[in-house]
């Protein structure tokens, strides 16, 4: 990175050397090769660091400069990239049709790990964004699971056993009893804790619950690609999930005005502090509870499977993958960066990464002796479910991802948008009808995906 | 100590000429006052001598040295500014030491000289104070001390007393006069206050409109003004001017016919070219026989009572006149007003305003 300079730059630099009080100037890089890498997520900085330490041990003379990007620093990072000075490896990226060319097309270089992926990694970006022959990122994380988590000791105290739930009606019955129990408790406020998060609602929850209520992911793809009208109440696979959300709101299982509750500061915090016994689970809550209270007896269940025993799982796409930056291809350290990138996405390291963070890898790791996940969500819930084999997980492309190639540039998603919080809130609280909500969704779909 | 000589000195700002060819000799070891109304160019002249303004044309000599292009600090001049220009964050000591410090004088010598000067000016107890803790008079003295400490050939004062109250002004006036005597220095003092000029000056330079009007000793100028401007400017209240139509001279006597028909009989000859008669209020007496004004031709406008005397203002057909009388003497309430003029102290001016007669030998520099 630091070798980047032009002739113009060099002469101007010497001319201005006097001005640029040398004391403050960045020290000239030593002989070692520096690879700048952004962490998978700021939260995983330490986990990533520990694994990259192994790389530094194996490759003397190479220094991995790991840094993290969060919501506050993202804009500044983008400015840096736009100015033509990106880091070498981005740990977690969401390539879009507007920005994918920022990243190296992994199909054009000798990327060795394609065939280890347990999904069609070569064409996944084409499937989700309609861009042929371009693979901007490589993702090794399996699609996430949605579940309901609860304090097992509290459930026991209430005389309830969530593990016995086999259907949505069972869930209804449990929530009714749980509500009766919560009403007797001064220290507990909510029955099934939830808040508003555009991605959680728009991309995951309504689809996952829709599948549990009898639809298939294929139905959702047909909805999103225009084969089923959003206003078609009979066939729209999202309708049962919306109606269930309305029912849970009316019966008081969801907190009052849940669509106005901030995800982290209100909903997650209230579950972590024990203001509720049960909560929907996004990707993070389990870890947060245990970090704050390592002795909590946490357990979870999936949203009940449909009659075919199918439970929703998110698909693995290029989103959240790692990438190399196209702007660096002429840099002297590009070969070194490529080597580090191949290592980082190799089965041996993916195993470590999956185990460190606790996700199911989107990779065949049988050569490595399989993956040994010890994170509590896996140990308590995902692992046993996979072992038992009674339910199957559908991790095919979700509706929104499948409709990606149709989306017009710069248009909003249909539901994944903060503007939808109050609209869904108005429906579940009875202010507007289902027809009105579906017409709005149809209008939004027409605007973003229609002809 | 040196004299200051200006030959045909001109000052122009762009196309505007503000000093028109000044020829002036300022005597060595004397106190010369540049006097004139505001805007007459007296301060500009002083600043030109100081070197703060360039000379557009002509020569400036201090002593025998041509100093047109000499740096201000090398002309041997020291200046006391109207607002004193004390350095506000420096103590009295440091203020006074500043010129020496700039010269690179050794510290011990600075200490010695500052103390010496402070003693002369009675500033010793104030040396550690800041200017803001001093009274107006004290600041004035510090400013003078800072000027004195360099032993300049010429002292320049730019209206140094105008920020002081009346009482202090009198005191400082005396002090400056005393210093001048003690130091025997050449001093040039700019003011618009004629009392200051009259009391301080060895030599007064009257200026107006960028010209020197008259140079002379204070009383000479008072008694023998070179022209109508000087006559009107010096003296308070101002000289009475009576414009007239014609003169009938006889032997040792004349009758002057004023505009409006009144006549003045004088026991002296009046120059033929004279067009205006000038007489100071103190040289007009009530009850004389030179001029009789019928009852219907004058109005009394009031009087200023100064205790021992009073100035009476009277409106006549050709203008107003001022009469000085001892206190208690009033103007007649009825009947005609007869006035006497002191024939020896009457001034005559021609159509251009130049003085005629006995004052003419004093005239210089008029155009």
């Amino acid at each position: 990175m630091s070798e980047k300079s032009t002739n113009v730059g060099r002469s101007a630099r010497s001319a201005l050397a006097g001005l640029a009080l040398a004391a403050f100037a960045a020290p000239v890089a030593a002989q070692e090769t520096v690879i700048e890498v952004s962490a998978t997520q700021p939260e995983y900085f330490a986990q990533d660091r520990a694994i990259w330490d192994l790389y530094e041990e194996e490759n003397p003379g190479v220094k991995i400069e790991l840094f993290s990007i969060n919501e506050d620093t993202e804009a500044a990072f983008q400015a840096r990239v736009a100015a033509g000075d990106p880091p070498d490896i981005r740990g977690l990226t969401f390539p879009t049709r507007d920005n994918y060319k920022t990243y190296v097309n992994l199909l054009d270089i000798d990327f060795p790990n394609w065939d280890k992926a347990n999904y069609d990694a070569r064409t996944i970006f084409e499937q989700t964004h309609g861009v042929e022959g371009y693979a901007p990122a490589f993702n090794v994380q399996g699609g996430l699971f949605l579940n309901l988590i609860y304090y097992a000791d509290e459930m026991e105290k209430a005389g309830l056993d969530p593990k016995s739930i086999g259907s949505v009606d069972d869930l209804r019955a449990l929530l009714e009893e749980l509500k009766a129990h919560v009403d007797t408790r001064d220290d507990v406020n909510y029955v099934l804790d939830i808040g508003w998060h555009p991605r959680f609602w728009g991309r995951w929850l309504l689809e996952a619950w829709g599948v549990g209520m009898g639809a298939t992911k294929e139905d959702f793809r047909r909805l999103w690609t225009g084969e089923i009208a959003w206003t078609d109440q009979e066939n729209n696979p999202m309708v049962p999930a919306l109606e269930l959300a309305k029912e849970f709101t009316e019966k008081g299982y969801f907190p009052e005005n849940w669509w106005t509750r901030a995800w982290e500061q209100e909903y997650e915090a209230s579950f972590i502090t024990g203001k509720s016994i049960m909560a929907v689970h996004g990707p993070w809550l389990w870890n947060k509870v245990l970090a704050q209270n390592p002795d909590a007896e946490l357990d979870g269940i999936f949203f009940p499977p449909n009659e075919n025993g199918v439970v929703w799982q998110d698909a693995t796409t290029a989103d959240r993958g790692s990438a190399l930056f196209a702007g660096n291809m002429d840099d002297p350290n590009f070969e070194a960066a490529k080597k580090a990138f191949y290592w980082w996405t190799s089965p041996e390291i993916v195993k470590l990464r999956a185990e460190a963070i606790g996700y199911l890898p989107a990779m065949d790791l049988t050569d490595q002796g399989g993956v040994e996940l010890q994170n509590p969500q896996y140990v308590k819930l995902v692992g046993p479910a996979l072992d038992a084999g009674e339910i199957t997980f559908d991790n095919s492309l979700g509706g929104q991802a499948a409709a990606g190639p149709m989306q017009k540039s710069g248009t909003p998603f249909v539901v994944e948008d903060n503007a939808m919080a109050s609209e869904i809130g108005a429906y579940v609280s009875g202010e507007t009808s289902l027809e009105e909500l579906l017409e709005l969704m149809q209008a939004r779909w027409d605007q973003s995906y229609g002809q | 100590m040196s004299q200051v000589t200006l030959s045909n000195a001109v000052k122009r700002y762009g196309a505007v000429e503000v000093l028109h060819g000044i020829d002036l000799e300022i005597a060595a070891n004397k106190l010369t006052v540049l006097l004139g109304p505001s805007g007459c160019g007296k301060s500009t002249l002083l600043r030109m001598i100081a070197g703060l303004e360039d000379i557009s044309d002509g020569d400036l000599r201090i002593g025998d040295r041509l100093v047109n292009d000499v740096d201000p600090s090398r002309r041997g001049c020291a200046m006391v500014f109207q607002n004193y220009a004390l350095y506000p964050h420096q103590t009295v000591f440091k203020n006074m030491a500043f010129p020496l410090k700039m010269k690179g004088t050794p510290k011990s010598e600075i200490e010695l000289k500052v103390r010496e000067t402070a003693k002369v000016l009675e500033l010793e107890p104030l040396l550690d104070r800041l200017p803001r803790d001093l009274s107006g008079g004290q600041r004035q003295r510090v400013a003078m001390g800072r000027a004195m400490i360099r032993n300049p050939e010429v002292f320049l004062f730019d209206e140094p007393l105008s920020n002081l109250d009346a009482e202090l002004r009198v005191k400082m006036r005396l002090e400056i006069a005393r210093l001048q005597k003690e130091l025997g220095a050449t001093m040039i003092f700019v003011t618009h206050d004629q009392v200051e000029a009259m009391t301080l000056a060895d030599q007064v330079v009257i200026m107006n409109g960028g010209h020197v009007q008259q140079v002379g000793a204070p009383l000479d100028i008072y008694n023998h003004p070179a022209n109508r401007f000087v006559a009107g400017f010096i003296g308070s209240p101002s000289m009475n001017f009576l414009p007239f139509e014609s003169v009938r001279n006889a032997e040792n006597a004349a009758v002057v016919r004023l505009e409006g028909g009144l006549e003045i009989a004088l026991d002296r000859v009046v120059p033929d070219t004279a067009r205006t008669l000038g007489v100071r209020p103190e040289h007009v007496s009530v009850g004389g026989r030179n001029l009789t004004i019928p009852e219907d031709q004058f109005t009394t406008l009031g009087a200023e009572h100064l205790g021992d005397r009073a100035y009476h203002y009277v409106r006549l057909p050709f203008g107003d006149i001022t009469i000085l009388q001892a206190e208690g003497q009033a103007l007649p309430q009825t009947g005609a007003l007869s006035l006497g003029l002191n024939a020896d102290r009457v001034h005559f001016f021609d159509a251009d305003g130049l003085a005629l007669g006995q004052a003419s030998d004093q005239t210089t520099g008029t155009t």
Binding site: A12, F24, A46, R49, D72, F77, D85, E264 | A78
Partner: protein
């Protein structure tokens, strides 16, 4: 007399109440800096109790949630090689044969004073020094340039004075966000100031509209006689600048510094774009503490608290200067 003193008392009471009221947020902030993130949704008037470190904690969770530096932990515990982040502390003790108390002693402060610990151990001091260097140099150099420009422009006696001044003003009204990319390219490519504090200083002192505004108007009130007097006393222009003008600039400097210091101190955007984490100034450092799905509010509040403290000190110092300068009499009597 009695009426006046009642009035005065009332005035003092009202003003004190107002003053206390403005300090409440600082107090809350101070409490927040010691309040666990988990409790950050509630308003605490005093630091709440918190539970002790549990040996059931996973080291990875402690890294994720409490920003524990796993590498430093490994080094402190003399653990060689890769440490699985999913291990519980009790498992680590067992597996590596480490006394549980040794682990507890090391990690307990992270849990008890997580905010302060996180901030201090992740480079607060380094960032503080960087911020002081940047802010100090920016204010001093900016003021010096402003005084020099101001003494040239004071009074706007020439047409080009106004032109220069207007061009400065234009520079000031361009939002920094709009020129950040060209600036970035100039600074990194042509000046070679990648990841250098000098780049921030340069950006802060460029386009000195404010400093020129402040100093020009003040210098205009300094009588020109002072300059003339120095000239007559044998001083050169730099003597006047050094001995007379500079010492008189206390008041405008206090004005300039009190306006710009918070800008420079809090400049997040430029620091984030132009610097790398090893050179971050405080605002960028604090901003970089947050995660994507989790936010360590305790650490963020601690960071804000600790970054406020030095600037408060500077303010108190400047307040003195400000009052002294304001009381210094004008040149005339």
């Amino acid at each position: 007399m009695g009426k006046a003193s009642t009035k005065n008392t009332l005035l003092i009471v009202v003003l004190s109440a107002y003053c206390l009221l403005t300090l409440v947020p600082f107090y809350i902030l101070a409490v927040r800096a010691f309040t666990p993130t988990i409790q950050s949704t509630e308003l605490h008037l005093w630091i709440p109790e918190r539970r002790d470190l549990s040996m059931n904690s996973r080291i990875g969770d402690l890294s994720t949630i409490y920003n524990v530096d796993a590498r430093a932990f490994r080094n402190a515990m003399e653990i060689k090689g890769y440490l699985n982040p999913q291990l519980k502390l009790s498992q680590i003790a067992e597996q590596y044969g480490i006394e549980p108390d040794r682990i507890r002693d090391y990690l307990e402060p992270y849990v008890q004073y997580n905010g302060i610990y996180t901030i201090v151990n992740n480079g607060f001091v380094r960032s503080l020094i960087a911020t002081i260097v940047v802010t100090g140099a920016s204010v001093l150099v900016g003021a010096l340039l402003g005084i020099m420009t101001g003494s040239a422009l004071a009074g706007f006696r020439r047409r080009w004075h106004m032109f220069v001044y207007n061009s400065y003003l234009l520079n000031m009204i361009i939002p920094p966000m709009m020129v950040i990319l060209p600036q970035y390219i100039i600074i990194t490519r042509y000046l070679g100031l990648e990841n250098s504090l000098m780049s921030l200083i340069l950006l802060h002192i460029k386009g000195g509209a404010l400093s020129t505004m402040v100093f020009t108007s003040y210098i205009a009130t300094v009588p020109r006689e002072l300059k003339e007097s120095v000239a007559m006393d044998g001083g050169k222009h730099y003597h006047y600048f050094l001995y007379i003008l500079l010492p008189l600039m206390g008041t405008p400097f206090a004005v300039f510094a009190s306006i710009t210091m918070p800008w420079f101190w809090n400049d997040l955007l430029h620091a984030l774009v132009l610097l790398r984490p090893d050179n971050y100034t405080l605002p960028a450092f604090v901003a970089s503490i947050g995660g994507t799905f989790t936010t360590n509010f305790e650490a963020i509040f601690s960071g804000v608290l600790l970054s406020l403290a030095p600037i408060l000190v500077v303010y108190l110092v400047f307040q003195k200067l400000f009052i002294r300068s304001a009381m210094a009499g004008a040149v005339k009597g």
